[in-house]
Symmetry: C2
Subunit: 504 residues, 2 copies
């Protein structure tokens, strides 16, 4: 037994990563832990990638189906994609090598609402799950698993897999123990019951993952950091977007449409999200809560300042500096953070009940309020839809944020027609750029267009958008959502042809 592997039966199964990876076969579907670069297995994936490369050298191509919580890291997605060892990848990724393989047509990928994955796996539509490779932060004397820095789909992987490989990562804080809430009350219909969460802080499960010891075929000890990203302070554009969001929230409170302590926040990751959180730091709202996917630096700051009473999520996504602070003072965060399975952190039922305020980033929006979150120029996937649909559809207010231009001003984030739709006009309440904010609630498509062009578009693109809208309003087949189909996607085509959406 070791300090982190305190169960005798499982300690006897400790092997190195190569041996563990040897227990995975070609054609296996493998469920791995990991969500936004937190809590993914650190060594077995690399060892598996070496096996794949060796097998190919011997003329015996090897591939596995790879299912995760969400994005992982170069050591996992990158390593396996590099050797083309992945058959079907789901439900979300953000790795550059993986992205390249997908977009060159060499890897199959399907992005899925993150709350849907577990039920889909139970339903059996992706086939059987053969192996789970799950990072934990420790194993108790009686064999319960102390989860790591993310929960993701680990409960489901451990339940559904025939064989289980555990990575026990001693880099993860020991203070994580007790912070998780693993709900074992889910079922397939017709046996489903209400998920009994009525406040983000509610604990409805147990702090440990369960797994029968005889399913565990290997335990690998690791000591490696998560894929932490450096926190960059908000730039001016992000700061202006955040300012508009805060003004909006303030108006909603003053109009009586939101309580003074708001409603549970959901926030995507990235610079704009962190800027909004930084804005809340300086803002008038107290006693906040979060019911979200990921706890990033900005949320940790809000907890530290006392602005945020508590945060429910499925994963951390912290900078190295924030991880240090968290580890130094973990006890202080203990009763302020709950990490849940993503099926619960993103559950439509709970998101709707709590009335989350959803804030998510996008690739582009069109003048009628449709949102593209995933595809560059309609064909090239960036990451995936992730949990944005779980939150946007069910939120009390669904806010989408983006700088008004990209690629140094060559690309407008507001276009006549989005080249791919992830969130339809029916799920989009508010669009915000550094230019301003458009509150689309209760507006017909034509009124939305006027507002989005006026408030959100970059001044450089505003005249061309107005021109499109005016001409479409004159001669469109239908004038509910006026469009000129021959031109609707021409801005994207111009970018592909000339490297810019700007008119010649």
């Amino acid at each position: 037994m070791t300090r982190r592997v305190r169960n005798r039966q499982l300690a006897a199964k400790i092997v190195d990563a190569e041996e563990a990876a040897g227990l995975i076969g070609t054609g296996d579907n493998v469920g791995m832990s990991g969500f936004t670069g937190a809590g993914y297995p650190k060594e077995v994936p690399g060892a598996l990638a070496k096996r794949v490369a060796a097998a190919r050298a011997e003329g015996e191509p090897m591939k596995v189906g790879l299912w995760t919580g969400a994005s992982t890291a170069p050591e996992l997605d990158g390593a396996l994609a590099e050797v083309e060892g992945i058959d079907l990848r789901l439900p979300y990724q953000s790795d550059p090598v993986t992205r390249e393989k997908i977009n060159s047509g060499r890897m199959d990928y399907t992005d899925i609402h993150l709350s849907h994955v577990a039920q889909r796996v139970w339903q059996g539509v992706f086939g059987e799950l053969d192996v789970a490779v799950v990072e934990v932060s420790g194993i108790t004397e009686d064999g319960r698993l102390i989860p790591s820095s993310s929960v993701g789909n680990n409960k489901t992987w451990l339940e559904r897999a025939d064989r289980v490989i555990l990575e026990v990562n001693s880099w993860q804080s020991e203070h994580l123990e007790g912070m998780h809430d693993i709900y074992y009350g889910t079922a397939l219909p017709p046996r489903r019951k209400p998920v009994p969460i009525t406040h983000p802080a509610d604990r409805i499960g147990v702090p440990y993952l369960e797994c029968p010891a005889d399913k565990v075929i290997a335990v690998v000890e690791t000591e490696s950091p998560d894929r932490n990203t450096v926190f960059t302070p908000p730039d001016e554009t992000s700061g202006r977007i955040a300012g508009h969001v805060l003004d909006f929230l303030d108006l909603e409170v003053r109009s009586g449409r939101l309580p003074r302590d708001l409603l549970p926040l959901q926030s995507g990751v990235g610079n704009v999200a962190n800027a909004v959180l930084a804005g809340l730091q300086a803002g008038p709202f107290d006693g906040l809560t979060a019911y979200t996917e990921v706890i990033q630096d900005g949320m940790l700051h809000l907890i530290e300042s006392g602005k945020l009473r508590m945060a429910s999520a499925t994963a951390f996504s912290l900078s190295p500096a924030a991880v240090d602070r968290f580890n130094r003072d973990a006890a202080a965060y203990r009763d302020k953070i709950v990490l849940r399975p993503q099926e619960i952190s993103n559950h439509p039922e709970v998101v709707r009940r709590l009335g989350c305020l959803a804030m998510n980033g996008i690739v582009e929006a069109d003048i009628y309020g449709n949102i593209n979150s995933t595809h560059l120029m309609g064909s090239r996937i960036q990451n995936g839809i992730g949990g944005s649909g779980d939150f946007a559809r069910n939120a009390y207010v669904s806010i989408f944020v983006t700088p008004s231009v990209a690629k140094g001003g060559a690309v407008s984030s507001i276009v006549p027609m989005v080249s791919h739709v992830d969130h339809t006009e029916h799920d989009v309440d508010v669009i915000v750029t550094e230019q301003g904010l458009a509150d689309l609630r209760g507006l017909s498509p034509r009124r939305r267009a006027e507002l989005i062009i006026e408030r959100c578009a970059h001044p450089d693109f505003r005249p061309a958008l107005r021109d499109y809208f005016d001409r479409a309003s004159e001669s469109s087949f239908g004038r509910h959502t006026p469009h000129l189909l021959g031109e609707a996607l021409s801005w994207h085509q111009r970018y592909l042809d000339e490297g810019t959406m700007r008119p010649a």
Copy 2:
């Protein structure tokens, strides 16, 4: 007092429709009852339309905001649209005159997920509700309202409106009393609780609508039928679609992915839906249930034959013949039908928990599985999204059905890129045409395209779709979802230019 108005205080408020309509002012937001042509007010809207026409003749244009449950009838939508008396219309309509006004740019309309309407009104984002005009089938001695043939948003209208006009329609069956289940447990966040339905038959409320008598400003007695539509027996195309759906359900049961009595059915209205229901009549499944929006002829037949144990919905949509049968033998249906507010019949929480099998019609699908349910050629709205999003997103299996061609073969229902998106690739499990069925679950976009073209497209359009997909796969910017943006909408443009999508 009268036979249907058994409360003394309300009987004293009986007036004619003209007098009642005179209590509605210009600029008022008016919430009217009505869902799929059932339970809408029959006389006040027409009287209001006359006022609007008279006001315009005097040079004083009059408009109201018009909110309903869903579609109504010519006497309501048609009459008010004809005189251009509607400012903003929501959340759904299917009236030819209304549609024409919307698509000529003369009326503002916003279609909304039907489960979202009530919370949006409580949230106050459409402004105040000034007047409710609600049809009921009777008023009890103590002033409770016996709902009519639809519930829709009536609970919310009665609660939120400053003034209430009741139409008491003695054409409606007296046997409706006791059939409804009005849930008064909803709230705005942060005070929401789980909706305690775990089976379609669960009753969680009361059979009456409540309304303080002093808010009622007028009671109008009517005796008029709902907008019943003739039931047409399934044609060959619908029958073949139904056959594919039944084969799929059968396979799911045999594969252990569905129980033998299936899961609660949700079915849109129309010929194809009725054909599927007729197929179930002859099929191997027993002990069925439905958790759906509308009870149409096909469902009544299934109840009569004993195949369907019970159906939960928010409205009837029956043919005159079916209405007669229902009225003759209403007692027999009493314990087999529950009518609920649409907030509950379509509630994402309940739909997901029950695991509905959703079957909805469409305008068109693209080769990657995105669905357009509303817009012809991307700009001309037909009806609206209705409840299809509530069900499709949260269903256990989400099925979309359509004939493979329309307009006598000039239009393909399978296109390279849909011209409008209502249901994204993430919410579409199965697409069915008379040609065949494509089970898209767990497939990458490229695999979906192969399947949809092969199984669902009409043979006349299959070669052109394959050609598009092949060329896009060769030269698309990204090859996750291959597209040629200059061509993606060209099929629609060709239809607008030449009246056909067929290549020259």
